[in-house]
């Protein structure tokens, strides 16, 4: 009851919605880089939204199924094929024993998420199956997938009801410039008026220094009143840290729990789906919204997921 890893791809890890409750002990949350895409993949195969999935980066893995199961792949389009024939993203697909899932090349975005019906047989460490690479815990021995790994299924399904309805349009659309909404704070008062204007008007470029911890951007210098250093406080997913260099860094899933740099703003949760798909060279600009706007957007997204769940599990 498993898949065998024939080729691990560039960086494939087991992730769920993260290790909640341990940030006060210095433990990073980890979890998927694009929670919405992972939730949709899980809903499409009848799982709980927070079930562990495989997060694949740029070059996807090659996986041989030892038993049949149903899968769904969401997020960026990394070119999935089954025994060489293309299969759709954002759709439940039934896979036969012996078939091999491969990815040809990234077409849109950076990361995709593979959900397996019935979930993966991965031990829960501190409340989560997420791989936390730095502390070497969770997932498969706390590391990325490697050749010949065998990942068990907990409760594979050869069929799902309403198979024809288990699909939707891929959500991720490539753009010349991505607009990412932010709420200002917590240290926006550490910047000059000019610095804030620069941040909200200029376009920033994603650098190759982009991993699960953070995404370093490059562009016009964001001016501090004094310096980019603060006495350490907490860091949320999507926090936009600006050290004294004036170049922003967006903090992501494997971010440290606390840090000593000024944070000018925070990306709203509804737009994490863009962050998870950025790659080197992409252009980003930031749009300021109110906290009410941000929370409305999040609750609207959640309502859409509930609707999707109802329509496929009816």
């Amino acid at each position: 009851m498993s898949v065998t890893v024939l080729n691990p791809g560039l960086l494939t890890t087991v992730q769920d919605m993260g290790r909640v409750g341990y940030q006060q002990f210095g433990v990073s949350v980890s979890g998927v880089m694009d929670p919405r895409a992972a939730s949709i993949a899980n809903i499409l195969v009848g799982n709980e939204e927070g079930e562990a999935v495989l997060e694949c980066t740029m070059m996807g893995p090659q996986l041989r199924f030892d038993v049949p199961n149903c899968i769904a792949i969401t997020g960026g389009d990394l070119g999935p094929t089954l025994d060489g024939a293309p299969i759709p993203n954002y759709a439940a697909v039934s896979v036969q024993a012996g078939q091999v899932l491969r990815f040809t090349a990234p077409k849109t975005g950076c990361r995709c998420f593979i959900a397996f019906a019935g979930g993966l047989d991965i031990p829960v460490v501190m409340g989560s199956r997420s791989t936390y690479l730095k502390a070497k815990i969770g997932g498969l021995e706390g590391r990325k997938l490697q050749k010949d790994d065998v990942i068990g299924f907990r409760d594979p399904k050869t069929q799902l009801k309403n198979m024809n309805d288990r699909n939707l349009y891929p959500e991720f659309v490539p753009r010349a410039v991505y607009t990412v909404r932010v709420v200002m704070g917590p240290q926006d008062d550490a910047f000059t008026q000019k610095g804030i204007q620069t941040f909200l008007k200029e376009t920033y470029t994603v650098t190759p220094e982009f991993d699960r911890m953070g995404c370093r951007l490059e562009g016009a210098v964001i001016e501090h009143i004094q310096s980019g250093d603060i006495i350490s406080d907490g860091i949320a997913f999507g926090a936009i840290q600006v050290p004294s260099s004036g170049q922003p860094i967006i903090m992501l899933a494997d971010r440290q729990t606390t840090g000593g740099y000024t944070k000018i703003a925070n990306v709203i949760t509804a737009d994490f789906r863009i962050l998870g798909q950025l790659k080197g060279g992409d252009k980003v600009r930031f749009e300021k919204v109110s906290i009410a706007h941000a929370q409305d957007a999040l609750l609207t997204q959640r309502a859409a997921l509930r609707l999707l769940r109802k329509s496929v599990d009816r």
Partner: protein
């Protein structure tokens, strides 16, 4: 409490800021507020993270929206003085000082113009407040080290420092909870596992409690290490103000 600020840290957390410096009074307020919040029964709180200056409160906007949560938390601030705060506990941490376990002890002693024994005596005579944890699982930011043994970091950081190493960097002291690179002056090592992901209590130290180091011999080190490996070691804690065991 009019100087408390509620800072936006995205749409699912709020930083409740009590000050902008490292001091015991701010830490005590953060601890009291954390306890008050826990006792309040305000719905939708997911987790809280104490830091030097603030308590970061993560919440679920599907349960409680920003405005309502801020209002509820402001209500708590007014009655903070009435909160019963349990005494902090002191976590006792045995340390084998010097030798292979603490290769920089002699340098620290020389830098301080003291003997190694004097450094150990000073290092073990203080209860260090855990202001916060961060950086890696179980890494403590401690306050209160005697300035007379403060020592600059190594010029060339070590590539790998074994878990349990006890070090000094400037006027900070602390324990490396996992193997990691680092530039601290290593004065000893504890056989106690500050962090073990498979233990019921994965991380031993908690923000707001204190750490007290005490010296042990190589034989005691080996015995505790064996007990840790077997899962039979009993961690030593006592309420602050009572005698150590």
């Amino acid at each position: 409490m009019s100087d408390v600020r509620f800072l936006l840290t995205g749409d699912t957390s709020i930083s409740v800021e009590f000050g902008n410096e490292i001091n015991i009074e701010i830490n005590a307020k953060i601890r009291a507020f954390n306890i008050a919040l826990e006792q309040s029964g305000i719905p939708g709180i997911v987790e809280t993270v104490p830091t030097y200056r603030s308590l970061m409160v993560h919440y679920d906007p599907g349960v409680i929206l920003y405005d309502d949560l801020v209002k509820a938390m402001k209500g708590l601030l007014g009655s903070l003085d009435k909160i019963q705060i349990p005494p902090s506990s002191v976590l006792e941490v045995p340390v084998l000082y010097g030798g292979e376990a603490g290769p920089d002890l002699d340098f620290v002693a020389e830098h301080a113009g003291k003997t190694a024994e004097e450094v150990i005596k000073i290092h073990t005579s203080t209860e260090y407040l855990i202001y916060m944890l961060g950086f890696t699982p179980g890494f403590t930011y401690l306050g209160g080290m005697d300035e007379s043994i403060a020592t600059p970091r190594l010029k060339q950081p070590r590539v790998k420092i074994p878990a349990g190493s006890v070090g000094i960097a400037g006027s900070q002291t602390g324990v490396y909870p996992i193997d990691s690179p680092g530039g601290w002056q290593l004065i000893g090592q504890t056989p106690v596992r500050m962090y073990d992901p498979n233990r019921a209590e994965p991380i031993l130290p908690k923000a707001g409690e204190y750490i007290k180091f005490y010296p042990i011999t190589k034989a005691e080190f080996d015995e505790i290490a064996a007990q840790e490996a077997a899962g039979t070691y009993t961690y030593k804690r006592h309420p602050r103000g009572e005698a150590t065991t």
